[in-house]
Symmetry: C2
Subunit: 449 residues, 2 copies
């Protein structure tokens, strides 16, 4: 199979570059047609592999692409999920080559979406094509469910899954949208934090006021916001919202050991990111803090005068954006309500408050001992010569929890990216070694099932 | 004199409208030539009144206009100060008629600079013209010192005064750049708060970080800023910076009584501004808080993601703008250093700090019993039928303290504006009743000296 992949590599890469030329940015309304184009490209590509029942399913947002091949009687069914939408390319001026003009340098393919997730999704399409070519059939039953709204938190895929449990029923859901630990060290992520985001706005007057005339005698919206937001954390780095930690699993020695086994280099990380100190909840290592503990981060604040120099106003309005990462049994809706209550309880005099909720995703934890996951680790070992590790990731892929819960199937997060590939940032790229080895690993995995 | 003023009113207003058509915005570099034009217009106008030694004095910024008439032997010398520069006109779309296209409606003259300060300055030019016409001479010796940088905190006038004490020497400095208490109730301000402004910027990393991957384990620049800025105030509204209150005068019963005599309507003010509560240092009335107590206000904050929706980043940089109003013997440089030390003492782990200072002005207090001030009150009484009150204003006119200290002369803040005239805001205007009565008052005052 390795030789066959090498034989087709150049034509595969030409195809992938075509795919990457489509600026299918789901967050930007002006790109709606490009996102549609992305869906068509995926449907076309699946058609060519020999997949059947290829459908472009319209939603109130961007379409879902479905396809299947269900002729492997008595064999398990695998649902492959991926996404054809990409992040915005801003700031454009920091790209060395244009984001939608794919270029290969040093055996890396540079383009927006190269690793997230067009390149990784394309691994599966090409793996199916090669398996089909070699054997005239697939070793397992396969379903594809590819969305165009992952970068905007999958607002329509969740309900689609809930409403199509039979159509999507599978023995495993396979997703390649995560990263290795580092080059040469594959990983199957077994835990993702949940997420919750909101915006809080405070008002104190109907207009900004002159700080000379009114200063000292009227409330200041920025002061109110500061006091509200600063009350969310305790001095020891823990979160002060009452009941926030309900449902957070106890950290057992076994869990700590498991986490400690995942290599990480915090000295190098500090240097690379220009951090003078790490920071966080007391009593936990960096990997524990970012992997299995919940967070509350303020992602942005604004209020009053923000131009050059000074304007001596008393701001009448200020706002902050907040997001949480959740773990274990923490429920996003419950946490949202508790934060809202915390705000009401701590509201400074003369201040009114509005809170808007943006996204919600439940945390998910996967059993690394599940045979569908262990066989994926076997496949990595066969191709890379090293067994995959099972890290607990701090990020969130909201749809993973929905797949696991609604389809009652193990989700296998077999990523082929690298942490250094500038995900969501300028100069995103994908290591082509992992593209070809990725196709090989997926073929090995599906054949082994 | 009243009749003469009425006779010339229309031609005076035509001239004033010409003056107001010049967009002499000192803060905006593109208007540098307009500011020059403003200086020439003032010089020309002074020349026409019969003033002598008219000079346009260039500085590293905008010019100062000087003129004098010094032939009233044995009489006192009055220095008239004013400014021909204006505030920017933004937001333009909120103006009912264009800011530099003066229009009279309801006996009010609408234009940027109408009350601050072109209209009030023009009162003095026309008063001198009429006095000169009637008597062929002036009742006192007069010097004009008119600047073009008041709205940008007078960076060059201070040093100019220090270096030209003989040229500017006077028995009183008269300034019309303040307001009545309300319509029909004139005021001579006898206290101005000092000012101090700075920007503080904190950094925690060399780039914003993904809140999933790093959240919980690294410092967040917005959290650091919140914690720093929130530490500046105590729960009772007082300022927590060590030594901040050094030099703040004790509030005597006499002072409280004096302040209580100035009428104010806080219920109406709350309604007008949409305030649900007042706020401030405990144990002081609103007028005390804004008139004789120092403040520390945060004028603006920014950091992290501020666009629509959410972006789950950990901000690496955040900044806040801060200004203080100072009273009594508080020294701006000393307060600046104490705030800087407070920041260093409260700096959260993993955070670096830079502080930039913008403006500094010392507080000033004037003796309402000084005869030069009492005679101004007499003149108001003669024209308006009501004696001027002596309020303590919360705002700052930095140059007032310099005039008082360097020239060792009483400063007479005889304003003709109204608090409702949209100073620094769209639809700035000037009540024409106070324009004509203002000329009359100034003539009465100068004749009485």
């Amino acid at each position: 199979m390795k030789d066959t992949i090498q034989l087709h590599k150049d034509s595969f890469l030409e195809e992938l570059q075509e795919f990457l030329k489509i600026p299918s940015i789901s967050a930007i309304a002006d790109h709606k047609e490009d996102v549609q184009k992305g869906a068509k490209w995926v449907a076309n590509s699946l058609e060519k592999t020999g997949m059947e029942h290829v459908e472009i399913i319209e939603t109130d947002g961007h379409p879902i692409v479905y396809a299947d091949w269900l002729h492997a009687d008595g064999k398990p069914t695998v649902l492959i999920y991926g996404h054809y939408d990409v992040q915005p390319a801003d700031p454009i001026n920091l790209w060395e080559t244009p984001p939608f003009d794919p270029v290969i340098r040093d055996n890396k393919l540079f383009a927006r979406g190269a690793t997230d997730d067009k390149g990784q999704l394309f691994i599966h399409i090409k793996a199916m094509e090669l398996l089909m070519k070699e054997n005239g059939k697939l070793p397992v039953n396969v379903k594809f469910c590819i969305e165009g709204e992952e970068e905007i938190a999958s607002p329509h895929l969740g309900p689609f899954i809930e409403n199509h449990t039979e159509k999507l029923a599978a023995d495993a859901v396979v997703i390649s949208d995560t990263s290795f630990i580092k080059e040469g060290l594959p990983a199957i992520c077994t835990s993702l934090r949940g997420a919750l985001a909101m915006e809080v706005t405070v008002k104190t007057a109907n207009t900004d006021l002159h700080s000379g005339v009114y200063g000292g005698g009227v409330p200041n919206a920025v002061h109110s916001l500061l006091s509200l937001l600063d009350s969310l954390h305790n001095k020891d780095g823990s979160i002060a919202v009452e009941g926030f930690y309900d449902g957070v699993p106890e950290v057992t020695d076994q869990l700590r050991e498991e986490i400690a086994q995942i290599p990480s280099d915090e000295v190098a990380m500090k240097k690379e990111l220009g951090l003078t100190a790490l920071f966080g909840e007391e009593g936990f290592t960096f990997k524990e803090q970012t992997g299995i503990r919940p967070t509350l981060e303020i992602n942005g604040i604004s209020g009053g005068y923000q131009g050059d120099g000074i304007k001596t106003v008393i701001p009448s309005e200020a706002s902050g954006k907040i997001s949480c990462r959740l773990v274990g049994e923490q429920d996003p809706q419950n946490i949202y309500e508790r934060i809202e209550k915390h705000f009401q309880d701590h509201l400074p005099m003369g201040t009114t408050l509005t809170v808007n909720q943006f996204i919600q995703a439940k945390p998910v934890s996967l059993d690394s001992q599940n045979p569908m996951i262990q066989k994926a680790a076997d496949a990595y070992e066969m191709v890379y010569g090293v067994r995959a590790l099972f890290p607990k990731e701090g990020g969130s892929i909201p749809i993973v929890e929905v797949f696991a819960r609604v389809l009652e199937a193990p989700v296998v997060l077999m990523g082929f990216g690298l942490p250094s590939e500038n995900l969501h940032a300028p100069n995103e790229h994908f290591h082509l070694e992992n593209f070809t080895k990725g196709i090989e690993t997926v073929c090995e995995y599906f054949t082994s099932l």
